[in-house]
C-alpha cells in the first residue's frame, strides 16, 4: 500500500479544520451527526436498532480498536476478541461487585482493564515482528477465553456460564430499551472516535505511523519504539474492551466466552481490511458490510421468491459463498477498503458541478 494512498485515507479527517466554512465535508459531518443522534433514535424501530444498527456500530468500534494497532502502528493481532471478552467480563464484575459505580466509569475502567491485558500480551512485540506477532496474540485469544471459562468467579458462579446484564442505567435513566441502548452505543462511539482522532494526530499517532512505515528510520530519528508499541497495544485493547462490553450488554444483553471466539477476532480483522486500513470512519463501513451483508442476503431470498425454486439447504450454503465472493471482489476492486471508495465519492461530489 503506497503512502500517498494512505494519506488520502487520512485526508478525510486531517483537512477538516482547514476547509471553507461550508464545505461539503462539513455539511456531511453535520448531517451525519444529526442523523446519528437525532433522526435514527426517533425513527428506528426495534428491529433496525437491535439487529442492524447497534451491532454495526459496536463492531465498528472494535474495528477501530484493531485499526489503531494494525493500520496506524503496523502491528499484528489475532486476539481482538479476547480483549473484547476482557472488557465484557470486567464490566459484568464491576457492575455486580461495585454497584455504586456509574455506568460510564465502569465502561472506562473495563477498557483500562482490557488495556492492561493488551500491555501484557503486547510485550512480545518488543522482540517479535511482522506475521510472527500473530502467535502471542493468538495465545491471548486462547488463554483469556480459557480463563473466563475455567474460573467461575468471572461469571459469578452462574452454572450456565452466561453473564447477563445486571443493570443498564445512567444517572437514574433506564437504558434497557432499544433506544436507550442505541444512544449509549452511539454516544460512546462518538467519544471514542474523537479520542482516536486526537490520538492519531498527536505525537503518539505520528510515531506509530513512522514505526509502521520504517521502524529503523523511526528509531534513528528518536522515536521510543518500545514504549510506542506497548502504547499501541494498550490503546487498541482499551477500545476493544469497551466494544466488547457494549457487545455483551448493549447488544446481546448476555455473553459467554464462546461469544468472543477466534471467529470474532477474524471478523474484526476483516472489518479493518474491508473498511480500510489506517482509516477511522472506514471501520464503520466495514462493520456494516460484515454485519449486514449476511442478513441482507438472507432477506433477499424470500423477497426475490428464490425459496420457491431452491431448497433451504442450498440457500443456506449459497449465502456464505456469495458473501465470500463479495469480500474477494471488494478486496480486488478496492484494495484500500470501502473507506477509500467513500472518500473518493465525497471528494468527487464536492467539486461535482464543475467537473465532468
Amino acid at each position: 500500500m503506497s503512502a500517498s494512498k494512505l494519506a488520502g485515507a487520512v485526508h478525510f479527517g486531517a483537512t477538516l479544520s482547514h476547509g471553507p466554512l461550508l464545505s461539503v465535508r462539513r455539511a456531511a459531518i453535520l448531517i451525519a451527526l444529526i442523523a446519528v443522534y437525532g433522526v435514527i433514535p426517533i425513527l428506528g424501530n426495534d428491529y433496525w436498532l437491535n439487529s442492524l444498527i447497534i451491532p454495526t456500530i459496536v463492531m465498528g468500534l472494535a474495528g477501530l480498536g484493531l485499526n489503531l494497532l494494525m493500520g496506524y502502528a503496523g502491528l499484528m493481532s489475532l486476539g481482538s476478541a479476547a480483549f473484547m471478552a476482557t472488557g465484557a467480563f470486567a464490566t459484568f464484575n464491576l457492575l455486580l461487585r461495585l454497584p455504586f459505580l456509574p455506568l460510564p466509569v465502569v465502561l472506562l475502567l473495563s477498557g483500562l482493564i482490557a488495556g492492561l491485558g493488551g500491555l501484557i500480551f503486547g510485550l512480545p512485540s518488543l522482540r517479535i515482528r511482522g506475521f510472527y506477532l500473530s502467535a502471542p496474540t493468538l495465545g491471548a485469544q486462547f488463554f483469556l477465553t480459557w480463563l473466563f471459562q475455567t474460573y467461575h468467579w468471572f461469571s459469578n458462579n452462574s452454572m450456565s456460564l452466561v453473564i447477563s446484564a445486571p443493570r443498564l442505567e445512567i444517572f437514574g435513566y433506564d437504558l434497557s430499551s432499544s433506544r436507550g441502548r442505541y444512544l449509549l452505543v452511539a454516544v460512546t462511539a462518538g467519544f471514542l472516535l474523537l479520542l482516536a482522532h486526537a490520538i492519531i494526530r498527536s505525537r503518539i499517532g505520528r510515531d506509530w505511523m513512522a514505526i509502521r512505515d520504517m521502524e529503523v528510520a523511526a528509531s534513528v530519528t528518536g522515536v521510543p519504539i518500545a514504549r510506542r508499541k506497548l502504547q499501541a497495544y494498550v490503546v487498541s485493547s482499551v477500545f476493544l474492551g469497551i466494544a466488547g462490553a457494549l457487545w455483551a450488554f448493549a447488544y446481546l444483553g448476555t455473553a459467554d466466552s464462546n461469544t468472543f471466539s477466534l471467529d470474532k477476532s477474524f471478523q474484526v480483522l476483516f472489518i479493518v481490511l474491508i473498511g480500510g486500513s489506517a482509516s477511522l470512519f472506514g471501520n464503520f463501513i466495514g462493520a456494516a458490510f460484515i454485519v449486514l451483508t449476511p442478513i441482507v442476503l438472507d432477506i433477499l431470498v424470500p423477497v426475490l421468491g428464490l425459496d420457491n425454486y431452491i431448497d433451504q439447504g442450498s440457500i443456506a450454503n449459497i449465502e456464505p459463498i456469495i458473501f465470500g465472493a463479495l469480500i474477494i471482489f471488494l478486496l480486488i476492486k478496492e484494495p484500500d477498503g470501502l473507506a477509500s471508495l467513500f472518500s473518493r465519492t465525497i471528494r468527487a461530489l464536492s467539486i461535482w458541478p464543475l467537473r465532468r
Binding site: 439487529s51 456460564l161 447477563s164 446481546l252 441482507v296 439447504g313 443456506a316
Partner: protein
C-alpha cells in the same frame, strides 16, 4: 470515469441493501390466515449435521399437516432463518419474526439452541412471547410462576442424570451397589454441559458413588487428556454429555485408551446416528439416553413416508436420514407445536393465535396417551401435560444402544427421580426471581 464507477458501485450496494431491508412490509397481510412457525435453523456451521435432519422432520410434518388443510384448517407458515448456531444471527432472526411475518402471527417460538434459550429469556419476557425449548433449556424455567413465557418441555438434564444413575444401578443389581462406584461425567463446557453438575452432586450424596466431573472445551476435537484421566482414576461408568463433534471424538478416544464402550452412556444430544457413525466400530455397544427414539415404524412415520418422502416432497436431500434420531426430534417438536395450537383452537376458535393465546394453549397442553396413539406417535412421543405451574410435563426417556447399524431401544419410558430435585429447582427459580426483582405472577393460573 473512476468516480462514475465508484458511484455506481456505491449505488448498487445501497440499492441491494435497501431492497433487502425494506421490501417485507410492502406486501403485508399476505399470510394473515396462517400461523407463523419461525425456524431458527443451522444448516451451516459446526453443528449443521445435527440440525439438517431436525429441520427435515419439522418441515416434512408441517408439509403433511398443510396438505391436509392445516391445523384445524389453519395452515402453518414455516419461515426459516439461518443462524449458523451463533447468538447474533439468532437475535436478528428473533427481532425479524417476533411480530410475525406478512400478517402471519407467532403463537410460540420453538428455539433451537440452549445458548439462545438462555440469552433470550429477558427479552421474551418483555415481549410476552412464549419460547419453547423441546428437551432443553434452563431447568428452573419449569416454574411457570417465575418464568411465564419459557417452556422447557418434555425433558431436562436433571431428570436425565437420575435416569442414567438408576440405569447404572440396575446393571449393578440395585441402588445400594452404587456405593463406591466411580462415575465420571464428561461434559461439553457450556451452559448446557454444566447443567448436570448440581444434580449429580445431589445423587452422589444420596447413593454414595464418587462423582467425577470432567469438562471438555468447545468444540471438543481433542480429548486424549480427559480419557487418560478416566483410565488412570479407574472410572467404572461414564456419562457423556457431549454435543456435535465432541461425541464421536469421545467414543473413539475411549476406545483408544481401552475404556469399554458399553459403559459409556450418552446424553440425548449424543445419541444420534450422526454421533456414532463417524466413530465406526468403536461405537458398537455405546449407549445413550433418548427422548426421540429413532426408527420409521411409527404409524406417523409410515404416513409421512407414503405422502411426503416417497413422492419426493421431503425437505431431506438425503432421505436415508428419514427415521434417524434427529429427524424424529424434529418430528416430535412439530407434533408438540401442532398439538399446542390445536389446544388453543379449542378455546379461541380455529384461527391463527396470538402470543398471549399461545401461552394459554401451552399452559393447557395435554397430550394424553390416547391422543399420542391417535397421532400415530406411540413410542415416539411420551405423553405430555403442562400447566401454569409446571412448564415441563412428566419427563421420561429411554435407553438405547448402538449395534453398528441401528439404535436398539433397551428400555421403556423411564421417569427418573424428579421429586428429588424439585426443591432445588424451585429454589433456583425463586433465587432468580429475587435477583431480577420480579413481581410474583398473579394469579398463577390463567
Amino acid at each position: 470515469m473512476r468516480f462514475k464507477r465508484s458511484l455506481q458501485t456505491l449505488a448498487g450496494v445501497l440499492a441491494a441493501a435497501s431492497v433487502g431491508l425494506s421490501v417485507p412490509p410492502a406486501h403485508a397481510a399476505d399470510h394473515a390466515n396462517e400461523q407463523l412457525y419461525p425456524l431458527f435453523s443451522y444448516r451451516t456451521g459446526p453443528y449443521a449435521p445435527a440440525g439438517i435432519p431436525q429441520w427435515g422432520g419439522i418441515r416434512d410434518y408441517f408439509n403433511y399437516i398443510n396438505s391436509h388443510g392445516g391445523i384445524d384448517g389453519v395452515k402453518v407458515l414455516v419461515q426459516e432463518c439461518e443462524t449458523a448456531y451463533t447468538l447474533e444471527r439468532a437475535f436478528e432472526c428473533y427481532e425479524r419474526y417476533k411480530h410475525g411475518y406478512q400478517g402471519a402471527q407467532v403463537a410460540a417460538l420453538f428455539d433451537t439452541s440452549s445458548g439462545f434459550d438462555a440469552a433470550i429469556s429477558d427479552e421474551a419476557r418483555a415481549d410476552k412471547l412464549p419460547v419453547v425449548s423441546v428437551a432443553g433449556g434452563r431447568e428452573d424455567a419449569v416454574d411457570g410462576a417465575v418464568f411465564p413465557y419459557q417452556f422447557p418441555v418434555l425433558f431436562d438434564y436433571w431428570t436425565e442424570s437420575s435416569i442414567v444413575i438408576n440405569y447404572i444401578a440396575k446393571q449393578l443389581g440395585g441402588l445400594d451397589k452404587l456405593k463406591g462406584q466411580k462415575i465420571a461425567t464428561v461434559y461439553h463446557d457450556s451452559g448446557y454441559g454444566r447443567d448436570t453438575i448440581e444434580p449429580l452432586a445431589i445423587l452422589a450424596k444420596k447413593y454414595g458413588f464418587i462423582d467425577i466431573e470432567i469438562p471438555v472445551a468447545d468444540p471438543g476435537e481433542q480429548q486424549q487428556a480427559q480419557w487418560q484421566q478416566i483410565k488412570q482414576q479407574g472410572v467404572n461408568w461414564v456419562f457423556l454429555r457431549a454435543w456435535g463433534v465432541m461425541t464421536p471424538v469421545a467414543i473413539k478416544t475411549a476406545a483408544r485408551v481401552g475404556f469399554p464402550s458399553d459403559h459409556i452412556i450418552g446424553d440425548i444430544w449424543s445419541g444420534s446416528e450422526e454421533d456414532v457413525k463417524p466413530a465406526g466400530s468403536a461405537a458398537i455397544g455405546y449407549k445413550a439416553v433418548t427422548v426421540f427414539p429413532s426408527g420409521s415404524n411409527f404409524a406417523i412415520s409410515q404416513t409421512l413416508k407414503k405422502e411426503i418422502i416417497d413422492p419426493g416432497k421431503s425437505d431431506l436431500r438425503d432421505t436415508s436420514k428419514f427415521g434417524s434420531v434427529y429427524y424424529n426430534a424434529g418430528l416430535v417438536a412439530a407434533i408438540i407445536y401442532s398439538e399446542a395450537i390445536h389446544t388453543g383452537h379449542e378455546k379461541f376458535g380455529n384461527r391463527p393465535l396470538t402470543p398471549a393465546e399461545g401461552q394459554w394453549a401451552l399452559e393447557h397442553l395435554d397430550i394424553t396417551p390416547e391422543r399420542v396413539a391417535a397421532l400415530g406417535a406411540t413410542g415416539l412421543l411420551s405423553p405430555l401435560k403442562l400447566s401454569p405451574e409446571d412448564h415441563e410435563g412428566e419427563p421420561s426417556a429411554k435407553i438405547q444402544q448402538w449395534d453398528g447399524h441401528h439404535w436398539v431401544v433397551l428400555t421403556g419410558w423411564l421417569n427418573g427421580d424428579r421429586a428429588l430435585f424439585h426443591d432445588a429447582i424451585f429454589a433456583k427459580a425463586a433465587a432468580y426471581a429475587k435477583q431480577k426483582n420480579l413481581p410474583p405472577r398473579t394469579p398463577v393460573t390463567n
